[in-house]
Symmetry: C2
Subunit: 339 residues, 2 copies
DNA sequence: CCTGGCACTCGAACAGGGCGAGTGCCAAAT
DNA sequence: ATTTGGCACTCGCCCTGTTCGAGTGCCAGG
């Protein structure tokens, strides 16, 4: 167990290193922080911290920098979540209040987060998993060709073109449309399959039954497929702030960020509730080994429908970043609830 | 007017510099290309080319590198468009053939272009300007709340929620839906305003007239607003290939790429037909002063409905890039025509 | 007009040296 | 047992000087 003072030393090291981006030595530490002890003592503490793996020296006789393990301890036990300043809060409101539709909300959120944290922001579109159906529309494009439009309560619209096995009359179409809607509107996606199971049987013509089956199959397919979520990313220009050695670092990060799959997995790994911080090598993806990911769920009600977060260098201002991420997530949740 | 041989020297310089990324000297030139003259002669030619502003030396007594003006001449008079190799063509087909919807087509195209050119790819969504209306759908969400869904022949779907001044009955709704569709389906966006002008008058109830006006206003607004086109970008990881000095270069480029407005303007400036190459300072946006943009229109029929292109360093393989861009544009056009 | 020769320039790469921040250790003080 | 001041030592950084070579411009001769 580390003594109180040693933790204090670690905190000081993290703070200074985050601020200056340079290895911090014992003397500088005692000057910038009132630890009440001499540099020699700090040196002893540092030796212990290093032995325990919380800090390291880039090369002999340089200052120390925190390791991933050090940041982990810092985040878990030493750092709180820094609340945003009033102007920052106001900025969030100003920025998000003008949003007109879901795309706009997500777009604004991503830009806001990037600006606030000066890092790369990632925002997942609200998931369809928890969503309910607001409306299902069927349009006839050609005698044997239909378009299915699905509208969710989060404002998302998905469409599919369906080639029917046989022509489908306008009256049958209206009939199906009405029945379908009366059954599924307001229901959760997960419940839909059971609710529509027996629909084909209620049609008399066998040709119609075939068409109805096709339509339903497409609907269910849409529900499932679209659960592979989409996301938006922004603030990649902030990658240039990564550090002096970034030419090597930045490449794999950019590559990782282009793979939606990677990002989705990244957010997927995060806890369902509360904020998740993954530091350096804690990230499964190799390209992100020198980055930290701060993510949190957000949603209109109590439940989280999606996640958002930022990707930055392990050397980041954790309290500030966590504060910004949490504040934005909360406000986006409110916005979604209102609309 | 520059002699034939001087042009040949310029071509050699551009080719070598693009290949090696290093200033090219007279001796190296004569070794790598069979110009049939001695280094001394080449030096004289270089002196002339430099005086005319086609090449420059980074510092005294280093080799020469092409200037923007030099690249311009190269592109205009010295370089053809290099056709793709058969495997490359096959790759295009393989890559694009599996696309299921518009988003998918655009997404695949952007990745394909990025991979093929090893640069940053930008693909604009097919424009609504030239599009025609495939269907307009009106749904009642609440007594005085409608949802308008617009479906275009390019497969795009736009939706809007409308708050009506007064409740609107189901029969009126069906009526409006039918009349609206009979008038606008198959028509171009630009023609829609005139076609629906007199619709409100044909409704008897004054409350209904107000609602219809609101709906039409929203429809027209959607048509106009959505002409501000969307686009997709990819391959930003290729920015790391920009050159050794890229830390300074890359930042403004990333920033420019994040501004959709900038990109749209960029593509907008390109010629309507044929390929456009903008080199270095020819680009209006300052952040892109050290990049070149190769763009071309694409579309399902003879007409271009949108543009796509790549952004890369001025020192790029112009013939190869132009070949790839053109080939991809053509094939995407085909895909769109088929669907 | 081209070519070979020649003197010159200037950046890149390397080597050496002083500087200073930082360390580890030890003996004395608390 | 912990803290502290002192001290010798290490080692990367930075500045300087030097060498090396690619590349240039110019000129006289073909």
């Amino acid at each position: 167990m580390l003594s109180e003072r040693r933790l204090e030393v670690l905190r000081a090291i993290v703070q200074d290193y985050v601020g200056t981006e340079e290895p911090v030595g014992s003397k500088a530490l005692t000057e910038r922080h009132k630890l009440g002890v001499s540099p020699a003592t700090v040196r002893n503490d540092m030796a212990v911290l290093e032995e325990e793996g919380y800090i390291a020296q880039p090369h002999t006789s340089a200052g120390r920098i925190p390791t991933d393990k050090g940041y982990r301890l810092f985040v878990d036990r030493l750092a709180g979540v820094k609340p945003l300043s009033t102007p920052e809060r106001r900025a969030i409101h100003n920025f998000l209040d003008g949003a007109v539709d879901l795309d706009d909300v997500v777009g604004r959120t991503v830009r806001l987060l990037a600006q606030l944290t000066r890092q790369v922001a990632v925002v997942q579109y609200p998931s369809l998993t928890r969503s309910t159906v607001r409306h299902v529309e069927l349009l006839s494009l050609a005698p044997a060709r239909l378009m299915l439009v699905l509208i969710t309560d989060t404002g998302r619209v998905e469409q599919r073109v369906i080639d029917c096995p046989a022509p489908f009359g306008e009256t049958s179409l209206a009939d199906l449309r009405a029945r379908l809607n009366s059954r599924v509107v307001g229901r959760r996606f997960a419940d839909v399959p059971q609710l529509v199971q027996d629909l084909p049987e209620s049609f008399e013509e066998s040709e119609d039954r075939a068409t109805v089956s096709t339509v339903l199959a497409t609907l269910l397919e849409t529900l499932v497929e679209e659960q592979e979520e989409r996301l938006m990313i922004g603030g990649t220009a902030n990658l240039t702030r990564f550090g002096h050695d970034f030419p090597l670092t930045i490449r794999p990060v950019l590559e990782a960020l282009e793979e939606q799959v990677v990002l989705l997995k990244l957010l997927g790994e995060a806890k369902e509730s509360g904020m998740t911080v993954r530091i350096g090598h804690e990230n499964a993806h190799e390209g992100l080994n020198s980055t930290s990911v701060v993510s949190v769920g957000y949603g209109s009600g109590g439940e989280a429908v999606a996640k958002l977060g930022v990707v930055g260098p392990t050397r980041m201002d954790y309290p500030g970043t966590m504060g910004a991420v949490r504040a934005v997530a909360r406000y986006v949740g409110q916005i979604l609830a209102e609309s």
